[in-house]
C-alpha cells in the first residue's frame, strides 16, 4: 500500500506516494523524475546517490522514501544558484574532474556538505570526507583539486 509523503525538496514543498519498501533514491528518480541522483551500488558503498537529509549527508539508496516525511532533502538539482552554476560545479568543469559523470552528482553533493560545515577543510580532510564516494574514471586527484579550488573561491 502506498503512503503519502510530504517533504521539502530543494527548497520547495512536494508531495508524493511511496510504498514503504521504496528507497528515497527510487522515489527521487522514478516518482519525482529528478534523475541527477545516481544509483551505483545500491548498498551504501559508492556514494553516487548522496543527498542531504535535514542537512546531513546520506546515501539515499539506504533511506526509505517514507522516512523523508516532514524532512528537508537537497539533491544535485538544488545545488546551482538559480541559473548560475555553483562554484563546485564550475570547478569540476574547469579541472576536468569528471569523465563518464556518473559519480559527479554524488561527489558535488558530498563536497558541498563538507564545505558548508568546514569551509577551511584541507586536502587530507577533503580526501577523508570523500572516501564514501567512488570514481572509476578520474583517479580522484582532479576531483580533490576541484574541491580545493571551489573551497578557495567560496571562502
Amino acid at each position: 500500500m502506498k503512503t503519502q509523503v510530504s517533504m521539502i525538496l530543494n527548497g520547495e514543498p512536494v508531495e508524493f506516494l511511496a510504498e514503504p519498501r521504496q528507497t528515497l533514491l527510487e522515489c527521487l528518480r522514478d516518482t519525482l523524475h529528478l534523475t541527477g541522483t545516481k544509483e551505483g551500488c545500491g548498498d551504501g558503498n559508492c556514494g553516487s546517490c548522496c543527498v542531504t537529509l535535514d542537512g546531513n549527508l546520506v546515501t539515499s539508496c539506504l533511506v526509505l522514501g517514507v522516512e523523508a516525511q516532514g524532512r528537508n532533502v537537497t539533491t544535485i538539482e538544488g545545488i546551482a544558484r538559480g541559473n548560475d552554476l555553483h562554484p563546485l560545479q564550475k570547478a569540476f568543469i574547469d579541472h576536468a574532474a569528471l569523465q563518464c559523470g556518473i559519480c559527479t552528482p554524488g561527489f558535488i553533493v558530498a563536497a558541498n556538505a563538507l564545505l558548508d560545515a568546514e569551509p577551511d577543510a584541507d586536502e587530507e580532510r577533503i580526501r577523508a570526507w570523500l572516501a564514501n564516494n567512488l570514481c572509476r574514471c578520474t583517479g580522484y586527484d582532479k576531483i580533490v583539486r576541484a574541491v580545493q579550488a571551489a573551497a578557495k573561491e567560496m571562502r
Binding site: 500500500m1 503512503t3 510504498e19 514503504p20 519498501r21 528507497t23 527510487e26 544509483e39 545500491g42 548498498d43 551504501g44 558503498n45 556514494g47 548522496c50 537529509l53 546531513n56 549527508l57 546520506v58 546515501t59 539508496c61 539506504l62 533511506v63 526509505l64 517514507v66 522516512e67 516525511q69 558530498a110 556538505a113 563538507l114 577523508a128 570526507w129 570523500l130 572516501a131 564514501n132 564516494n133
Partner: protein, 285 residues
C-alpha cells in the same frame, strides 16, 4: 535495482508505542539508521513484515551527560555523536569510533545502537563499549532491564534481546580520573572497510598503578570478545613495556579467529597481538 520485499512501516512516537508495535507481531524489526538493515532487506538476508522507525522518539536520539555518565540514545547518528562536546571531552575514543564507522554519508545515518544490535563480530563500536563498561538499557513487554554490553551479542547477527524487546539507550559510566581509552582496527584501505581485527581498551592509572583495565576484540570470534584475563594481569601493577607485552599475549591467545576472504586465522591472531600492544601502549604510555 535491488527491490526489497513489501513491508509495513510505522513511526513510533514513544518508547511505549515502539514496545507495543514490536510486541504485536513476530516479524517486526526496529529501523535506526538502516545502514545494516536496509542492505540486509535488499539482499534478502533478513525479512520484515513491519518496520518500526524509532528515530522520532526523543529518548532514542538524545545524547545526555550527567554526573554518573553518558546516556547515548540507541538511534543517535554517528555524525552527532562524533560532534558532541561531552562525548569529545569525556569519551574521546568514542568520538573517534563514531567518525570511523563507514564514511561520512554512512555516519549521517548509522547509530551506535544499530552497530550493537546488529551483533556483527566486526562491529567497530562494540569492543570499545565493552572496554568502557557500557550497558544496554532495553525496554519490552516485561518492562525495562539492563544488559552488560559484553553479554549483549550472542552469535553472529544475534543479540540477547527477548521477543518484543528493543534497545533504548547505551549507558557509559563516567570514567574515573586517570582513565584513557582507545579503539584500533586493521583494514586494508584507509577508510570504508570491515575490520580484519580490532581492539578496544580502557585503563585507569592512579599514582603509577593500574587500577582498572579492560580489553575486547573485534572480528576474531563469533561475537565481539571480552578478554577478562587482561584486567587480571594488569590491575595492581605499574605500567611497563614488559607488562604490556604480557597482556597483549593474553589477548592474542584469547582470539579464536576463522580464515575467510579477508584474512587467514593466523594473520588475525598476529594482528590481535600487535593491535593490543599498540592500544595498551596508547592508554598506559
Amino acid at each position: 535495482m535491488l527491490q526489497m520485499k513489501p513491508f509495513e512501516y510505522i513511526v513510533a512516537p514513544s518508547v511505549d508505542d515502539a514496545a507495543r508495535a514490536l510486541g504485536s507481531r513476530a516479524d517486526a524489526r526496529v529501523l535506526a539508521g538502516g545502514t545494516d538493515l536496509i542492505v540486509q532487506l535488499k539482499s534478502g538476508r533478513r525479512e520484515a513484515g513491519l518496520i518500526v522507525d524509532v528515530k522520532r522518539i526523543p529518548e532514542l536520539t538524545a545524547i545526555a551527560m550527567n554526573a554518573d555518565g553518558l546516556r547515548l540514545g540507541a538511534a543517535a547518528a554517528c555524525i552527532h555523536i562524533a560532534a558532541n562536546r561531552d562525548v569529545r571531552t569525556h569519551y574521546p575514543a568514542l568520538a573517534e569510533v563514531a567518525a570511523l564507522i563507514g564514511g561520512t554519508a554512512i555516519q549521517g545515518r548509522a547509530s551506535i545502537g544499530g552497530n550493537l544490535c546488529n551483533a556483527a563480530p566486526s562491529a567497530d563500536a562494540v569492543p570499545l563499549l565493552i572496554a568502557l563498561s557500557a550497558s544496554a538499557r532495553v525496554a519490552g513487554p516485561a518492562g525495562r532491564r539492563e544488559i552488560a554490553v559484553e553479554d549483549f551479542c550472542i552469535a553472529p547477527g544475534k543479540n540477547a534481546l527477548a521477543p518484543g524487546e528493543f534497545l533504548v539507550e547505551i549507558f557509559i559510566p563516567k570514567p574515573a580520573s586517570g582513565t584513557r581509552a582507545k579503539y584500533l582496527r586493521f583494514i586494508p584501505r584507509n577508510e570504508m572497510d570491515i575490520a580484519v581485527a580490532g581492539v578496544g581498551v580502557a585503563a585507569t592509572v592512579v599514582d603509577g598503578k593500574i587500577t582498572m583495565a579492560r580489553l575486547a576484540l573485534a572480528s576474531v570470534a563469533s561475537t565481539p570478545l571480552f578478554v577478562r584475563e587482561v584486567g587480571g594481569a594488569l590491575e595492581g601493577q605499574a605500567p611497563s613495556a614488559a607488562l604490556i607485552e604480557q597482556a597483549a599475549a593474553l589477548a592474542q591467545a584469547a582470539a579464536r579467529p576463522i580464515s575467510d576472504m579477508r584474512a587467514p586465522a593466523d594473520y588475525r591472531r598476529h594482528l590481535c597481538g600487535v593491535l593490543s600492544r599498540r592500544a595498551l601502549s596508547a592508554v598506559l604510555g
